[in-house]
Every structure is written in structure tokens, then in C-alpha cells.
């Protein structure tokens, strides 16, 4: 990289310290001296501002005021920081800080917020969205309503209906856009062509039969007006929901049974007899998610056994990997031994490959029927390594030992080699036996230098989602199959299953976030305590 020289240096100007100079000496102002660095800054800021303004406009158009405000603050802060001479340190911190604020601090705070709501399937949006969705659901053909001669049309792959209404007007609409008048060619009471739309042929209609019978084209923007649907792609009928919404009272009425549904505290419409409508909206529910996790009969039992297993898994993982790593480090800590480098390189292989490859590889090797372990070492016995509750736990720990011991070996080797030799010599002179030296000199020193890493390792394993999810998927399932959880699930994989993000279970963001908060508290608390303890240890030494 070429050194960026100050033009003043070339002119033989006296040495200066620009950043310490008082502001206002004109010839040293950044704006006057067009250094390449300054130009680069201008270009970068122009790009940042352009993107920022684009985002601002987009947020304005989408009525996303939270995003708009956040963008505005970030943009103003960036411009201020990079064009003032006062915020020198911030110039270096701001880029990372911006990402940190949005994608780490905000999401953690937002997790806390979601934990107190019932966000999830059936409670996805606002009350208005819930009302609209309810009015669309359970539509029935309106008795005695007129029939609409109908033609299926498409535009850029979007299906739509072109219909002739009872007044003889031609209308076109899609699932997204309600019917609007449009010029069309009508031959013997059927629409045969529409400007800008393609009329579907018989074959096309057959090929897309399902999509066409499922298609509903709203008659107007009002959900209460109902929509046009068709069974045979030739005639459409008006379909309306049996529910009507009374905006003034805020209640839903079922026109068939006459039941009146009033909104309750849980963001649902509830009838006096306690039945609720299937779609609700998002409300804050206080500590309900937390009490569900701890006391609801469906969740409490799995939650506690998963909590215990999570601790057992994290502690045993650290312990086994540390002991094996330490043992190997001791074995190889003899300078007379040949080939140590080769051993070392081969031994750290498990640490050097991506974790997901290792977990998937072992899940294949532990396969009950075809797996290598059963076929090679156990003569084809079908040992259920991953499907028996206890064996699965053992397998998870075993694989984690394989994955983790090289790391512990590396740090123990490093720590052993950096032990002060004078202390060891002193122990020798004092006549301490080998065992005594280990117990009283080497181990304490070793623990002080590795303790912070052991804590990090604990925190890492506490949330070792990849290993659990890829090796056993949390299985084998608990006997009670009402929740998608299993014997090797740890808290984080429990959160993942409950959140339903992968679509295998009903979504429950609220409960998942509440459990995330529980993990945050546990991990944060333990780390804080442990780091404090190690500080003390260091001071003593």
C-alpha cells in the first residue's frame, strides 16, 4: 500500500500535529487540503448517504416509522461523526457500533419484548389484520346471489378473474387487487379477451385447476363485501363470510348461529360460551409465557428435564474434553519425544474441520442399521446409538469429546509451556515429588490461565445447537408427543423447535423468546460469576 503523504511534508513545511491544533487554522482544515484520504472519505460518505436516503424514502413509503427513525438517527450520527473534528474516537468505533446496536443489542431487547407477547401462529398481526383475515375465512356462497359469467385470465403468471356483473359491466381482478372495471371483448355472454391479460386455454385451466378453485377475488376493498370464487372456471358466485364485524362495538357476530364474539385479554374473539375464533392478534400477555414454561403441564416437565440435561451436557463436555486434552498435553510435554509435531497436527484435525460436517458425519456413522460403528465394531448389531434416550446422550457427549479435545489439548499445551520455570525449579529443589508438583504447583497455575477459556467453553456448549440438531435432532422424542421435544434437546434447540421457524411445528415466537431470555439469564449469570471468581484467583496468584 502506498504511503499517503501530506502535501505539506513534500513542501518542507515544519512538522505539525494536526489533530492537536486549535480548530480554525484555515490552511490545515480538511476541506482545504484535498488529500486522497479526504477524497476517499467524501466518496464513502456519499455512498453511505445515498443508501441511507434511499432507505429513508422506502421506510416513509412503507409507513415503517420505527425503521425510519432509526435510519435517520444513524444517518445524522454518521454525518456528524465524520465531518466534525471533535469525535475522533467515534470515527473508528461508529461502523462496528452501528451494526452492534441494530443486530445485537436491539435484537436482544426485542427478544425481551416479544417474550411478553403472544406473537405466533394465530397471533401474527394487528387486530385489524385479524378481523380482515377472519372475514375471509370460512366463506360460504351467498344464498340466492347472482351468478357471474367468468373467464380465467393471467398476467405475468398471476391468475385473475374477468367477470360480467349483473349490470353487464366487465370487471377484472386478482387475489391482491379487487375487481375493477376493464374493457373486454364479450361474445355471447362470455369474455373472450381482455386488454393486457391472457385468457387461459382449456389445458391451462386443467393444469392449474387447484389454484383456480382456491382463488378468491375480492369484490371491493371492503372484506365484508365478499369475493368471487368459482368451481368450474366458467361461472363465479359471490362468497361471503358468515361472520360480520361490528366496528363500533368491536365484536364479531356469526350470522348463522347468532353468537357474538367479543375481544378478550389474549387477543382473541371469544363467545360467551368460551369458544374462540381461530385467528387472533398480538397483545402483551405479561409473564404468561414464563409461567407456561415453568408450570404448564405440557411444557414444564420437558422444560425441567431439558434444563437438567443442558447443564449436564455443558459441564460434562467441558470436563471430558478438558481432562483428555490435559492428559494428552501432559503426555506430549516432553521435549525428548520425537514426532511431536506430526502427532499434534493429526490430533487437531477434528478441531480444524467445520462443526456441521463433523456432526453430520457422526450422525451417519451412528446410524442404527447402516452405520459404520455398528457394522464394523459391533458386528452388525443394531445398537440404537441415536434413538435410545441414554445411548443418545452418551453418543452426543462422545462426539463432543471428539470435537472438543483438540482445542483443550492446544490450550493446555500452551499453558504448560508458559509455566514459569523458576517455580518448577523451586519445587524440585524443595524435594517435591512429581505428583506433589503437579497437584500443588502446576495444576493451580494451569487452572488460572485456562479458567476463562473453560468458562467460554461452557457457555459455548450450553448453546451448542449445531451439534445437537444435526446429530440427533433432539431425539428420541419424549413419550408425551404433544410438544416436539426429545431427550437430547438442550435449551437452545428447544427454543428452536418451539419457535416453529422451520415450519415443523406451530409458531410460538412469544414462548420461544421467553425461553431465550431464560438462557440469556443463565449464561450471563454464570459467566459473570465465574469471571469474577477467576479475577480473584488471578489476584491471589
Amino acid at each position: 500500500m502506498p504511503t499517503v503523504k501530506s502535501p505539506h511534508a513534500d513542501q518542507g513545511a515544519p512538522p505539525r500535529t494536526p489533530d492537536l491544533e486549535p480548530v480554525g487554522r484555515a490552511d490545515h482544515s480538511h476541506a482545504r487540503t484535498m488529500r486522497p484520504g479526504f477524497l476517499a472519505k467524501l466518496v464513502l460518505m456519499a455512498v453511505v448517504d445515498a443508501i441511507g436516503v434511499y432507505c429513508l424514502l422506502a421506510a416513509w413509503n412503507a409507513d415503517a416509522w420505527g425503521i425510519f427513525a432509526a435510519m435517520l438517527v444513524l444517518l445524522v450520527a454518521a454525518n456528524w461523526v465524520y465531518f466534525t473534528r471533535r469525535a475522533l474516537a467515534l470515527k473508528y468505533i461508529l461502523p462496528g457500533l452501528a451494526f452492534l446496536l441494530v443486530f445485537q443489542i436491539f435484537v436482544v431487547v426485542y427478544t425481551g419484548f416479544v417474550a411478553f407477547t403472544n406473537y405466533g401462529d394465530g397471533h401474527n398481526g394487528t387486530k385489524q389484520q385479524a378481523v380482515d383475515a377472519l372475514l375471509v375465512q370460512d366463506e360460504k356462497r351467498v344464498e340466492g346471489s347472482p351468478s357471474y359469467p367468468l373467464t380465467v385470465v393471467s398476467q405475468d403468471g398471476t391468475l385473475g378473474f374477468a367477470v360480467i356483473d349483473p349490470d353487464g359491466k366487465t370487471l377484472v381482478g386478482t387475489a391482491e387487487d379487487p375487481l375493477t372495471p376493464d374493457d373486454a371483448t364479450v361474445e355471447s355472454d362470455r369474455i373472450t379477451a381482455v386488454d393486457g391479460w391472457t385468457v387461459l386455454s382449456r389445458q391451462d385451466i386443467l393444469a392449474q385447476q387447484k389454484a383456480i378453485t382456491a382463488l378468491r377475488v375480492p369484490i371491493s376493498d371492503e372484506a365484508a363485501d365478499g369475493s368471487i370464487r368459482t368451481q368450474d372456471a366458467r361461472v363465479g358466485y359471490v362468497f361471503k363470510s358468515t361472520l360480520t364485524y361490528d366496528a363500533a362495538a368491536g365484536t364479531m357476530t356469526d350470522t348463522e348461529s347468532g353468537a357474538v364474539y367479543a375481544p378478550n385479554d389474549h387477543g382473541e374473539f371469544e363467545a360467551p360460551d368460551g369458544t374462540t375464533l381461530p385467528i387472533g392478534w398480538r397483545v402483551t400477555v405479561g409473564f404468561e409465557n414464563f409461567t407456561t414454561a415453568f408450570s404448564d403441564s405440557r411444557y414444564a416437565k420437558p422444560f425441567f428435564s431439558i434444563l437438567v440435561w443442558t447443564f449436564a451436557f455443558a459441564i460434562l463436555s467441558v470436563l471430558t474434553t478438558f481432562l483428555l486434552g490435559l492428559f494428552l498435553a501432559m503426555v506430549f510435554n516432553d521435549t525428548r519425544m520425537r514426532g511431536r509435531k506430526v502427532y499434534r497436527m493429526l490430533m487437531i484435525l477434528p478441531y480444524a474441520i467445520p462443526g456441521f460436517v463433523a456432526a453430520l458425519l457422526w450422525s451417519g456413522m451412528f446410524n442404527r442399521r447402516f452405520g459404520l460403528i455398528n457394522n464394523l465394531f459391533f458386528g452388525g448389531a443394531e445398537i440404537p446409538w441415536l434413538t435410545d434416550p441414554w445411548l443418545a446422550k452418551f453418543s452426543v457427549l462422545f462426539v463432543n469429546l471428539w470435537l472438543g479435545f483438540p482445542y483443550m489439548f492446544l490450550i493446555c499445551t500452551g499453558a504448560l509451556q508458559s509455566l514459569p520455570s523458576d517455580v518448577l525449579e523451586a519445587a524440585k529443589i524443595d524435594g517435591a515429588s512429581k505428583l506433589r508438583t503437579w497437584r500443588s504447583v502446576i495444576m493451580p497455575l494451569l487452572l488460572v490461565s485456562t479458567a476463562p477459556l473453560l468458562i467460554s467453553s461452557f457457555a459455548f456448549n450450553f448453546n451448542n445447537f449445531t451439534l445437537i440438531y444435526m446429530l440427533t435432532g433432539g431425539g428420541p422424542q419424549f413419550e408425551d408427543a404433544s410438544v416436539p421435544l426429545g431427550h437430547t434437546d438442550i435449551l437452545i434447540s428447544m427454543v428452536y423447535s418451539i419457535s416453529g421457524i422451520d415450519g415443523s411445528a406451530p409458531k410460538n415466537y412469544g414462548l420461544a423468546s421467553a425461553l431465550s431470555i431464560v438462557i440469556f439469564v443463565i449464561v450471563g449469570g454464570i459467566s459473570a460469576l465465574a469471571f469474577r471468581q477467576t479475577r480473584k484467583l488471578e489476584e491471589i496468584n
Binding site: 425503521i67 426485542y110 493429526l346 487437531i348 467445520p354 415466537y509
Partner: protein
Amino acid sequence: MSTSTAVPAKASTAQVRRNKMAFGKWFSELGWRHVVGVVAVVFAAFPLVYLLSASLHEKGSLTDLFGPVSTANYSALSETMFWTWMGNSVIIAVATSVGTVLMGAAAAYAFSRYRFSGRRLGLTSLLIIQMFPQMLAFVAIFLLLISLGDVVPALGLNSKLALICVYLGGALGVNTFLMYGFFNTIPRELDEAAKIDGATHAQIYWTIILRLVAPILAVVGLLSFISTFGEFIIARSVLQSEGNWTLAVGLYGWVSSLLEANWGLFAAGAVIATLPVLALFLYLQKYIVGGLTAGSVKG
């Protein structure tokens, strides 16, 4: 290394030792260490050897350790989405590690060299934030990206750019402390001398400090690359269409569905996925081990 220089280097270790000392003594002093070493190496390397042999196996069998060798699995990869996933993974991991190094180093420089109000608070906050892994908030990240996507589709769900941004959010929390410690070991006199010679703060940073801290930049970049390359939970929740998947998500899909049929493909893909990481790791082994223990000593 060891003492025996007179004996030809080709002779086996055991023979060398026996010439010098009795076998019993050699074994109790050093020999058993080799036994342990061999066992440990077999334990560590055996699954990887199996992976390699499965990838070269003609039928991609789960059970056969050695069968007819062929590269059929490797050539079959090109008929799948594998190379797209590989490209996605590499793009995302490289962008994240470069961004992480740039932003982390800049922040560490500011914390190490400038005294400003809020500095102690900032350092303490980073220490605390470090304890809260970002991936725990994957539900909130998912929901945030839904809202962002309504405004700027490029930053919404199923976008690689959005995923990179999410990963960069974790850049400062994880790495600043490691770098901060290293920056503090560079003598301040160097920047002061440069300042007196008329260098601006930007010149000092880009042309002096960054050169001197290159080892830690390599470590942080590499660790960030490796962890991003293997990250699963956030990638899985954010990237939804198959064409945007990373390797971790894609290979998981292969193994979780139809294990037996896909095993050869998976093995070949896994070998290729492992190679860049493994090569980087072995090449920069010294730096990494140094970085790990540096972290341990400083706490």
C-alpha cells in the same frame, strides 16, 4: 529434538532408543507416550479417513470402508446445488470476516489509543455483551428481518446481504477484546513519533498500526471465517430458498432426508467443504494457538 545424531535418520525411533538405553527404560520414559499418541491420532483421524473413503466409494455406501474407488460422487456434485451453496458460503464468510476485521480493529484502535468520555463504559459494555451470544436472539432477528424486508427487500429474509449484516452485528462484541489487548502491546511512542512527523490519525492507523498488528488481524479474520462458515441456526432461519442456502444448511438437508441415498454425495461435499477451512487452519496454526492462549492469559 533429541540426542541421537550418530544413527542414520531413517532408522526407526524404537531402534534408535534401544541402542542407547534398555527397551524397558525407553518404554517407561518415552515409548508409552508414542502408544498414547498413536491411539489419540487414530481416534482423531479415523472418522475423517472414513469420510474420505466414503467420498471415493463408487456407491457411496455407509457401511463399506473400502470399496471400488471412483470419483463419481465428486462429479455428481455438479448436478446438484452444491457449488451454489459453496459459493454462497464462501461469499458470506469472506465478507463477514473482512468486515469483522476492519470494524473490530478500528474499534480496538480507538479504545486502545484515545481517551474519551464513555471509554470505560464502552469497554465494560462490550465485556457484558460478549456474554450474550447473538444466535440466542434468532427469533427476534427473524422478526426484525421480516420488518426490514417490507422496507428494503435486499435486507429482508432470504437475502445473503441481510445475513452478512446480522453476522457483522456480532463483530464488535466477540473480537474487540482480543484485539484491544494486542493493540495495547504496540508501544505508543511509535504513533507519537509519527504524529510529530505530521501524520494524521488516519495515516497512523492505516500505515503504522495495522501493519504491526497483522498477526492478530489474521487470527480474528480466520476465526471469524471459520465460525461463519459453520454457522447454522441463523443461516437456517434467514435463508429460505434453496439457491441462497449455505453449505451447512444444504448439507444438513441432504443428510436429514434420505440418508442412504445421499451419503456418497454428502461425503464428497463434506470433503470439499472441509478443505479450505482445514488448509487455512493448518497454515495459520501457530497464529491461532498463539491467539487462543493470548486470550487465556489476559482473561
